[in-house]
Symmetry: C2
Subunit: 259 residues, 2 copies
DNA sequence: AAGGCGATTCGACAATGTCGAATCTAACAC
DNA sequence: GTGTTAGATTCGACATTGTCGAATCGCCTT
């Protein structure tokens, strides 16, 4: 591992968390001398990854990141193939839909279809949610033993009073997810919001993404029709990706109770 | 400048351009030994900035970039303040609208309002266009002498038969842009597409972004109503940002004819 | 005008990044 | 099934670079 690249990435991570920071502030956060941080920041700045605010004493993330992430999204075969099915899923169910992949114990939304009721909604692409508190995240954890072991090795944070935080209950939930190829979450991440998710399988049979519909907690549980449409969308996307089967066979699923 | 961070950024740039590349291919492109590239890529991968494809021999940009760019967009005060006015601009004119900032001789779209006709349109946030071939880009160049000098010091590339590529004509156009606080482009970037842009000023009176409406070339030139609405939106956003005046006084504009 | 704080610059030197050689892995041809 | 090829990956010697302390600069406050 190259230390200076590691440091540079940590600086990006700091600016991601705190939005605007000065050199001395970043140095304190990373326990490094200001001149060291200054050199790294100037290098990042020369590539547009970081920018200095006009007032001159604080730094922010830079526009080059937007271009890189635009290409990242374009690269995603799973996203390209999901968009049409998600559009249809939202049209049929009247609900918002999300596609997510794993990122360091969280699930990040790589595609979002708004609820088709004409109301004003925030675009969610780029939003992250802790995996343990999200239907998509639970699905991704259920089919990835190593990832689950890692996440469950640290205390699970409660985002609401409903968030499941006991590892044993999570493992039971993973077992059920693998049996039904469905993950559920009711007000575990956001009060008033629930979601149900299904796995997306690749041509190698691996679960590489999860697709979800989002519904108001007042409409919980999701109707049979919503669940049927969700499974249909997941199956269709997986098939387009060349998955041999959907859902992935239980025997092929790695159990998450490896200690 | 830190060489290893520079190299890491170049690797991200390669993957941005070529989408998927192997270690040996990147090494050839950068004129570096494969083991050097491998070390850098593994560092980037550990932070989610790069990912290895399941087949194992090619690399792509990683999901952490999406999260970073999501925060980048959230950080942008100019974007937050423009969204409502752009929504109104698109509603009143029936045209798509874009907000852009400068990135290495290009203009990158940081907010996009679709044309409100219900048709299916690609989201454009993250898209880049060479500044010289874009109304927004020309506006940004017109108010930034150093940037303009840099762009005009290299040959301008024609994207269509209509693209202006002569530096003297560009300078004349910049002069006119500063006088009218408006930039125009008809089929210079994309056949069939035209745009008109206005500058967005900061509280320090600097032009920090440009706002544009996009119209079909068949509707060229834009009507007086469209131009009026665009200026109104630009003035309103600038005012919200604390700009002392709009448009920025001509005397304060740095001439771009510095050789 | 002086003081304080943070950004920035500079250059000596220690630590790290580089990269050649070797090994590993997977795909392909026979 | 075996051998070949090409690319990924690992390892460690060593030269180059990144680090960082000291000094300076710039801006804001008093």
């Amino acid at each position: 591992m190259i230390q200076s690249i590691d440091r540079a990435a940590k600086i990006l991570g700091l600016l991601q968390g705190s939005r605007r920071m000065g050199i001395t502030e970043m140095a304190a956060a990373l326990d490094l001398p200001p001149s060291t941080v200054h050199g790294i920041v100037k290098s990042l700045q020369s590539h547009g990854l970081v920018a200095q605010q006009p007032s001159g004493n604080r730094y922010v993330l830079g526009p080059a990141l937007l271009k890189l992430s635009s290409v990242y999204l374009d690269t995603l075969d799973v996203r390209a193939r999901s968009m049409r099915w998600m559009h249809e899923l939202s049209s049929r169910t009247g609900l918002a839909s999300r596609l997510g992949v794993e990122l360091f114990g969280e699930v990040i939304v790589i595609h979002h279809n708004r609820r088709p009721d004409g109301s004003e909604q925030m675009p969610e692409t780029g939003v992250t949610i802790p995996s343990h508190a999200s239907a998509m995240g639970k699905v991704l954890l259920a089919y990835d033993a190593a990832h689950a072991a890692d996440v469950l090795s640290r205390p699970l944070i409660a985002l609401t009073a409903e968030t499941t935080t006991e590892p044993d209950r999570m493992r039971e939930e993973f077992e059920r997810i693998r049996q039904e190829a469905l993950g559920f979450e009711n007000e575990e991440a956001v009060i008033g919001e629930a979601s149900v998710a299904a796995p997306i399988c690749s041509d190698e049979g691996e679960v590489i993404a999860a697709i979800a519909v989002v519904l108001p907690a007042t409409e919980w549980p999701p109707s049979d029709m919503v669940i049927s449409d969700l499974r249909e969308a997941a199956r269709n996307v997986s098939r387009e990706l060349g998955a041999p089967t959907w859902p992935r066979p239980i025997a092929a699923a790695d159990p998450t109770d490896i200690q």
